[in-house]
Symmetry: C2
């Protein structure tokens, strides 16, 4: 089994509205809860009651499409509202990420680290120290987890920032983006993914669900091709369609039927009938 | 700040349907996520996408009513479907609970451990070894967390078990209940809480939301009075009314307004108007 670490702030955790995009239900995508794997259902990174669709879902769906028969596990450690300083290596978020990754690595091979953070550092000149701080975090992660050449996929901040809502104050997002690109260009195994063309929820700071799905495809391409994705891919919608809109397996149909029963959406008798017909 | 550890299986995690009971919104109730505290919103123990209302919400609301000005933090570590063997002290669930409790205890005083587990041991004669296994777990918890006389509040299994749905096979639930009572009677600081009169969701195994709320009140009474609660309390509904149905503070109204915006239930302009009027 392969695994992927999710770290950063709210747009890594995911705030896309669940009902705005087709569900990803794929038994080969797992997520970590209480140190153990289970089949993935969004929200994956439940850092807040408002958590929703993140880029990790479509990243994993793309991976599954191109890695038949294999499983991928997502390790959710992103924390809404966290600054780069909140991720410094003596603090709780970093320690928690190490612990969760170690749980996961007991029976999986970590193949990528996904990072998206920076809204909370897009003001007050914070970009000036971002590069060095990011470097310290990544080096410590590699060291603590004994990783050699695992890729860090780092996402840019959205062009909708600095304008309205909770994103209003993020006026220096473009300067953070420049630091992210510079960092990726300076380091092997670090790849930047652009947020160009992506859009936000009404709060003006959180990527909407459709954008998160596209972002996940871009993250996957950076991972797969081992290079920056600096412009949107031409066929993002088609790729999403082909990695998500696939017939359910019997296990997936059973999972959905059990979920319906457990959530009171059907009676036990209806559930039994469904299961018999699978 | 005080804190409370939640361990066990799905009825500790909570599967009550959120929309069936009044919301608990109380800024003095916190929950642990990514090793850090945040204001509580149900589901507290997000072990599964189907997680919902648990007994911990009303336990904490009762505690707040009787401990003015103080804060209580909930540490969610319960795992759906886990057997007593899954909690043995060399396994992941136990290790995770220790890690989470240690994060919490960096800035809180652990005042109680809430346990509810046993559906998954209500068949095949598993009750015969339950007492010893539970003892090993509790002793190890006390030892690892350096706890002296912290109370363990342990809940009985529902009388609806052994009849229908996913509860059909739990035919020996009453024998597990006897072991739980015997364990409580044999040990200082361990108190049993009856599930008598509580009822289940359509799946026949999970306590419904109303029952979870009542169960939490009973757990609180066992904690407060330091004795078993072996029959339902007479005034459970009134107690729930008085600990939950209280006017929101300004912080709570802000929290709810921000949640509405972030979930797309209002526009940024409506949000600003709301905030101005608070």
């Amino acid at each position: 089994m392969k695994s992927v670490l999710m770290i950063g702030q709210s747009n890594m955790a995911g705030r896309g509205f669940i009902n705005e995009v087709p569900m990803i239900c794929n038994e080969r995508i797992q997520m970590l809860r209480n140190g153990k794997w289970q089949m993935m259902t969004e929200p994956i990174n439940y850092d807040r009651p408002i958590s929703g669709v993140s880029l990790a879902g479509s990243f994993a769906a793309m991976w599954c499409m191109e890695n038949k028969e294999e499983q991928i596990g997502l390790i959710p450690c992103a924390e809404g509202g966290s600054s780069i300083d909140d991720w410094s290596i003596e603090k709780i978020l970093f320690k928690n990420a190490i612990i969760q990754a170690k749980f996961a690595m007991q029976n999986s091979n970590l193949i990528a680290i996904l990072w998206h953070q920076g809204e909370n550092d897009s003001y007050n000149g914070n970009y000036k120290t971002y590069y060095e701080k990011l470097h310290t975090i990544f080096e410590a992660l590699k060291n603590e987890l004994n990783l050699d050449d695992v890729p860090f996929i780092i996402g840019g901040l959205g062009d909708y920032l600095g304008k309205i809502g909770f994103g209003f104050n993020c006026t220096e997002y473009d300067l953070v983006n420049k630091e992210l690109l510079r960092y990726a260009n300076d380091h092997n195994h670090v790849y930047l993914v652009t947020a160009q063309g992506l859009s936000a929820n009404p709060d003006g700071i959180h990527l909407n669900a459709v954008s998160q799905r596209k972002f996940g495809v871009r993250y996957y391409y950076a991972y797969k091709n081992k290079k920056n994705v600096i412009t949107p891919l031409k066929n993002e919608e088609k790729l999403l369609e082909s990695c998500i809109n696939i017939p359910y397996t019997q296990n997936e149909m059973k999972y959905l039927a059990m979920m319906d029963l457990t959530m009171g959406k059907c009676s036990y008798e209806e559930f039994i009938t469904k299961m018999k017909n699978l």
